[in-house]
């Protein structure tokens, strides 16, 4: 059966909202972003439509697919592909953050819970740790820690400010 092409601009926002929420919910629960075929089953849509929806969501957000595949590599603030930014919730390490900055935003997906980011400094590899709970940053070790990006943020790629 030949599949009809789906125009991404014709995808309804309500449908995109639902798919985004489903992906985020799965990542929050498991640490892993689902494949579009899995989403198709859970959302009761055809896989081709689920693929188009995922692709469109990735276009509208600062996430990305692994090049040459349909696999979600990054779904900020999380990363499906492991990074050096390990995220633990109430002591359980199951998540990875897209980058050091997005690691700080993971707490908004876990309200009322203790979120810890463990990482290694790019210079020397020494450990870094940040503990957060909702509005509070409860620990920064070492306290001299800084963040830095050499890439322009919020530049011309208007829809993808954090890459």
């Amino acid at each position: 059966m030949a599949a009809e092409a789906i125009d991404p601009d014709q995808l309804a926002l309500t449908e995109l909202d639902a798919v985004y929420a489903a992906i985020m919910s799965e990542v929050v629960a498991t640490g892993v972003a689902p494949h579009y075929a899995e989403l198709a089953r859970s959302l009761d849509v055809e896989p081709l439509r689920a693929k188009a929806l995922v692709t469109r969501i990735i276009e509208l957000t600062p996430g990305w697919l692994h090049p040459g595949t349909d696999y979600i590599a990054s779904f900020p603030p999380f990363n499906n592909q492991p990074t050096q930014y390990r995220v633990s919730v109430d002591g359980e390490q199951r998540w990875f953050a897209q980058c050091g900055f997005e690691a700080l935003a993971c707490r908004w997906l876990f309200p009322g819970r203790n979120v810890t980011v463990d990482a290694a400094c790019l210079l020397g590899g020494e450990p870094l740790r940040i503990e957060m709970r909702d509005e509070d940053i409860t620990m920064i070790d070492p306290p001299t820690m800084v963040g830095y990006t050499r890439s322009p943020v919020g530049g011309d790629a208007a829809n993808r400010p954090f890459r």
Binding site: Y20, G100, P111, L123, I140, Y148, V153, F162
Partner: protein, 215 residues
């Protein structure tokens, strides 16, 4: 978009790009940045509608402005110093370049750590601050204790206020300052001649709001 143990670690990183030094910030600043609406909204059931609508556009613009580089066409000049002089900062009576009373207060008060409430007040209310601590210890102070006090001052203020603290041993001062852009400062902190000119112009006015509050 990475985290480093300190400003020095970031600057020593092989991929450090001085052109982007304005995005070298304390992790607390980044935590605030990634607490803006753009990031909190991801838990919404209608996130895509929100992000592509007027609220999302406003949130994105807020983010862009927060991380915008300083305008390169304006230098630290008398205008910047004048802007600093208009900032609501307390003056310590009798303070001058030769007066060590401020440093004495600092040494006496800082090892007890800055109260969190005070630090948060600075962060919320103060628009700028320069603390100058001579590298040479006071005659009656143990040299090692002085060094540790300087380090602890940098650490405490940086951790509590989110201001980027710099320890410029070569110039003999520990300088703690940030949010200068909000006061009209558009230069590069690394622009040492301009920085020094601004500091000298403002020094008599500024000495230290924090100490006035602590005293």
């Amino acid at each position: 978009m990475n985290l480093f143990r300190s400003e020095e670690h970031a600057r020593d990183w092989e991929e450090f790009e001085p052109r982007m030094a304005h995005l070298l910030r304390p992790v607390e600043w980044w935590a605030d940045t990634f607490a803006t609406p753009m990031f909190r909204a991801r838990a919404r059931a209608d996130f895509i509608s929100w992000a592509t609508g007027p609220e999302g556009a406003a949130a994105f613009e807020e983010l862009r402005q927060r991380m915008a580089p300083p305008r390169p066409d304006v230098r630290a000049t008398a205008a910047a110093a004048a802007a600093l002089s208009k900032v609501d900062l307390s003056v310590i009576d009798g303070s001058s370049a030769e007066d060590r009373s401020v440093e004495m207060q600092l040494l006496r008060l800082w090892p007890a750590a800055v109260p969190v409430e005070t630090a948060r007040h600075w962060r919320n209310a103060a628009r700028g601050m320069i603390v100058a601590i001579p590298a040479d210890p006071l005659p009656e102070v143990d040299a090692q204790a002085w060094i540790e006090t300087r380090r602890s001052a940098v650490r405490d203020v940086q951790a509590a206020t989110g201001w980027l603290a710099r320890a410029d041993v070569g110039a003999g001062d520990v300088r703690l300052t940030h949010r200068l852009a909000q006061m009209g400062w558009q230069g590069d902190v690394a622009d040492q001649p301009a920085w020094t000119a601004m500091e000298q112009s403002a020094r008599a006015v500024l000495k230290c709001r924090s100490l006035a509050e602590l005293a």
